[in-house]
Symmetry: D2
Subunit: 141 residues, 4 copies
Amino acid sequence: MQPVLTTEEVHRFLETDFPQIHTDGRVMTVTEIASGRASMRLDPLERHLRPGGTVSGPALFALADVTAYVAVIAHIGVVPLAVTTSLNINFLRLPQLKPTTCTCKILKLGKRLAVLDASIFQDNPDELVAHATVTYSIPPL
Amino acid sequence: MQPVLTTEEVHRFLETDFPQIHTDGRVMTVTEIASGRASMRLDPLERHLRPGGTVSGPALFALADVTAYVAVIAHIGVVPLAVTTSLNINFLRLPQLKPTTCTCKILKLGKRLAVLDASIFQDNPDELVAHATVTYSIPPL
Amino acid sequence: MQPVLTTEEVHRFLETDFPQIHTDGRVMTVTEIASGRASMRLDPLERHLRPGGTVSGPALFALADVTAYVAVIAHIGVVPLAVTTSLNINFLRLPQLKPTTCTCKILKLGKRLAVLDASIFQDNPDELVAHATVTYSIPPL
Amino acid sequence: MQPVLTTEEVHRFLETDFPQIHTDGRVMTVTEIASGRASMRLDPLERHLRPGGTVSGPALFALADVTAYVAVIAHIGVVPLAVTTSLNINFLRLPQLKPTTCTCKILKLGKRLAVLDASIFQDNPDELVAHATVTYSIPPL
């Protein structure tokens, strides 16, 4: 399963067609696109925190959701109408105010559905702060 | 299962201890607290939208997450350290830019875990835009 | 949303096309088909128990899965190739060795996906032993 | 994270305390216990099939559930009262009537909850037939 878009091309697409993810400044960056997967980094701001100083659930959800979308379009080309149909997330450890990485692996890339596994961590890729499974619906061409 | 906090008390608590939910202005309001459940309304802003003008997944996720938290504290009293352990959400219909209600029903309120069912709709409570199941971990006293 | 098959017709279809659910005897019975929902009853046997005498997770999973399938075919007609694409189940209370009911409500019946909510209980419909969300993929005609 | 039980010890425990998993004959075997994970093999029988000759959802669910339990007890010792609190499974490809392996990786092993990732495959570990996330509740000692 080979990517059809480069990191640069994905960035340019997000810039023009998905400006909403930059509403709070450039907090999310695509860091890797490879065979069957993609990674993004979130540089959290004060606004992404919850009481106790941990990165909020919605911020981690958004990171998993966007990274899954990036992994899908990197492998099938730009599909503006792909929509998330379900997302199941487990919060495992309290994330601190520091760079947070999400790596999404494509488990299945069908004609109608893509299913991805998202691992979210901070310093240590073996100590996940959250893990998600994401399903995207791919519109008929 | 009777609530131990009123809508007014929950609002006051969110105000002082959970100011983060008002980062973008007062977009979330508790609309009902009743036996075994709670409801909140999201008045979405431009920043909550995705391409196509639909309310974003992270905005619906945040609404389900906060409503579940409100339902829990309304029934067991203020527990600042309750944390979401998992959230499974299905996106069912594309939500438009208008008031969005989430009703959370407590399925189980144990000593260590609370499990809630969240129904999110706009005009018609029978046409959900999203449905979620949320698990909160309740810290030992 | 009106059913297009009666309880009798669903039973006959399961009998001829889905004999596997009767491998252990007639332990599952359709008890209701109504607008937007269906219910089944499991009469558990010794083989459905786990240590401690509770009905096993796989038995509850199978009950939710088959009831969701029944709800789908009752509303769109017989679709032998509909397959479960995901199932999220929360176990809430330990079920005992007695009749167990599952009620499935259709949350969305789209052209490609059906999403259902399954409530599993024993004596008291307000005290669920398990709750599931089920997604079925509907094959193109 | 090192295992505290060997494959042999786990087998002996299942034999005496969990005979239910052998109701249909010895269809499930522990094939590996290693740091942070465990694997089991299901040798499916006619009774585990669905129309079309694919291994049924409940059979895959049971395999993921038991493998997760084995991974937990292999790392914390025998805890007869550990119970599954939730299981989210995605069905990715239709499994055929042949040996099926489940590898469970421990994502978190806390005092109260264990969260595991389950990958189910047949010939090719990179082509999953199903993927699950399992949460076990660990009883207070």
